[in-house]
Amino acid sequence: MPSKDLWNRLSTEAQDFVPPSKILKEYADSLTEATNGLLVGWVDSLGKVDMMTHTFVVRVPALNNYTFAVLRIRHPLTGYPVSLYPELAAAQPAFAGSEEELRANLEDALREPKVQSAMSALLAQAATIS
């Protein structure tokens, strides 16, 4: 018969841990909010064996839901380290060993001129049609 407190410790630990996907979703949601929904950010997640991959995707409803991937992050089931792979900018991957480093890497990647100009271009097109 399993102990009654067998899983209690797990749930306690999970509360202190912010999954990388949740952090990425914060950034995706911030794009949606900042553009009043003209650009919609969302996170597409895929788990394979012992690695998780989350892609920051942007959807443009005014452009027939045109979508493209901005960047991907990959990490083991334990959460860290996280590898960040830019999709738009031809930059080297970045690595984060903590939540703090991941947030810093995401800020850097999303502030890349190519990412910003791509978002601006899509926003301008979407605003013209909306």
Binding site: N64, Y66, K114, A121
Partner: protein, 279 residues
Amino acid sequence: MQLLFWNLGNRPLIDPLADLVMDLRADVVVLAEFTESPSTITATLSDRANRRFFEPPYGLRSQRIQVFHSLPYAAVQPVYGGAHEAIMRVVPPLGREFLLVGVHLPSLLHRTDDDQQAKCEDLSELIRRCEEDAGHRRTVAVGDFNVDPFHRGIVSAKGMHAVSSRAVAARQQRTVDGKTYPFFYNPAWSHLGDRSPSPPGTFFYRSSHHVAYFWHSFDQVLVRPELLPVFSDESVSVLTKAGARQLLDTEGRPDGASGSDHLPICFELDVERTTTDAI
């Protein structure tokens, strides 16, 4: 951008096609030998994929090959529609425009090798003319060429000039007898035979002649060197399932009963990366 080509073999495959388009999140779908009307196809794809699919404006429509897409309506414009080819100008919301050539060449059953070579040469010349008009060579050609990658129509300089090596294609062009011919890169070479994880080709034909290849890679994608920075060989797949439907029979060959006699192929073009300093 995800692109899909399928020769449907004049079979009613609209439902497995829609499943495939949904699973792949295909943005551009090039079809040959389809039985449903274009409007039925766009309606079915739109419904299943939960985004609107369009056929390009009516003008310059090819007889044997059709391009459908879920990009913004004006993003795909017809440039040329002939008996065996449809050339489109694709202007994506992000990234530089490129030319998409949908191809469905005549079958060798009714033609000789010399006929096919001549057809490939005509097609190649047409593509070069369209590229001159467009002012660039960011071109990808996909479809049923009805000849293998090693056919002289595909390989020869006056033909498609499509080579098996990215490094060779990256040299852009070659001069033969004083005339310059641009290359295409042909990833289909890497999918020949049993070492590829996919079937040894896209079409199976048991011939009674002395020379019989059995497996053929008639369905190919050819990429100009200008697009190689945004094209990955790993993205090219010969597909064996469409949704839940298996496209191979028990012997691992295209199952004409449940699918087409041709297997579909898909590939990606990361055109969002085609900025002025990338290409």
